[in-house]
């Protein structure tokens, strides 16, 4: 059956779309859902500062997948081969298409975080940084939903989203990933050392196909035993 899984899509989002809750930010920082003072007020400040942020955006490019090799731990899209590691390549098995995505919470996060840091208020700076981390993850969830709607219309399913840095996938592959995206796509750029700018940005791949599966939480099956997220028992959305 012919489908419409191709093209480049980008979306601007509002802070309100993401529905970021104070309790979620507090729990993410290890403070429980009801933070003690002054942390509660600090979260309020972070939310207020970032709520007017107009630079939350994300998008994806859809390309046909040439090959997924579990044995080699790779996925090949057009002529570019990503060395994702055996685990991620097994999760991407049966992908007919791949959505190569990026999403950002904008420069505002580091602007305000640095502002407080430079004033010596490291706690407020950290609270803004943590809020920015959740903001970009929340924004990416919405971008994923847009992709899901598109896949559903074409009778296709999605895998989790996977990013360079997850499991055995080296961050250096970010360079290949960005080669598929238009220059400064969604205002995200990449340094030589594969650091995204703005800092609160994410990028990665979602597999698309009739026979792919969404697996939810995967950290327990990952071989990266020393991973900071696993060690801190922090839930990572995929």
């Amino acid at each position: 059956m012919k489908n419409n899984m191709k093209g480049t899509y980008s979306y601007k989002l509002d802070f309100a779309d993401i529905k970021l809750e104070k309790a979620e930010i507090s729990a993410f920082m290890g403070l429980g859902e009801i933070p003690d003072e002054p942390f509660g007020s600090m979260i309020d400040i972070a939310i207020e500062l970032l709520s007017t942020n107009k630079n939350i955006e994300g998008g994806f490019v859809i390309k046909p997948v040439s090959e997924v090799s579990i044995k080699e731990g790779t996925i090949t899209i057009e002529n570019e081969t990503f060395t994702t590691g055996k685990m991620i390549s097994s999760f991407l098995k049966n992908s007919e298409y791949a959505a190569l995505f990026t999403c950002t919470a904008g420069f505002e996060v580091e602007k305000y975080s640095n502002q407080y840091k430079n004033e010596g208020d490291f706690v407020q700076s950290y609270v803004i940084d943590a809020t920015g981390s959740l903001l970009v993850e929340g924004a990416m969830e919405l971008i994923y939903e847009k992709l899901q709607q598109m896949a559903t219309l074409n009778y296709l399913n999605l895998t989790n989203r996977y990013s360079p840095g997850y499991c055995e996938w080296k961050v250096v592959d970010q360079q290949k990933l960005f080669s598929f995206l238009p220059s400064k796509f969604c205002n995200v750029s990449l340094s030589e050392s594969s650091l995204m700018s703005p800092v609160k940005s994410v990028s990665g791949i979602v597999g698309i196909g009739k026979n792919v599966k969404y697996l939810g939480y995967i950290c327990d099956s990952c071989k990266s035993l020393g991973c900071v997220y696993r060690a801190k028992k922090m839930y990572v959305k995929h």
Binding site: G30, P38, Y126, G165, V171, S193, L195
Partner: protein
Amino acid sequence: MEELLNKISDCVEFGKINKAAPYPPNMKGQDGADELTVQALEQGISAKDVLSNGLIIGMEKVGVKFRENKVFVPQVLMSAKAMNTAMEHLKPLFAEGNTDKKGVFIIGTVAGDLHDIGKNLVSMIVEGNGYEVIDLGTDVPAKKFIDTINEFPDAIIGLSSLLTTTMESMANIVKEIKTVYPNQKVTIGGAPITQDFCEKIGADNFSADPQGVVEFMNKLKISA
């Protein structure tokens, strides 16, 4: 005297900055590190005792609790804030050049990497444990580390990296430091760093948490 120093230690451990601070809730309305340090000095307790037997003890406990996931980044930052508030009263009392520091620690995030939360935590906990910290910031090239070692030849060096891509930069910096200063002690850390990597690149220590850096430095000080 001991009771007051214990209270100061508690204030740092639990992040009680001053009387007006609402945090932590179970110490609300009580004097904080600010007031208690003033009281200690008024009672004739030396600045050195306040630092060694009050503030440093509290910060050491925070470092251990952080390692054990009993406290998280915001609480550690609050403890550092309490410590720094107390230090403002002590600094003028330390004669210039005789700050009674345990040693010098030069720290930076390696070239190509801009992440600094882990580096800042290490800085605060190492400083809180009685060392002078020279923080070179982020994206630091080998030359800047070497130039700073030139100024502080006995310093211990700390390198931080969050990205797998900048691990190579870390390896190069260790190599360049060791070429110029073969006996300079270098400790490394960051999310992707392992003991194996530490051995492979010829660094002297890997710590998964800030307290591990303090323990490494304390061990070097004892054996010096």
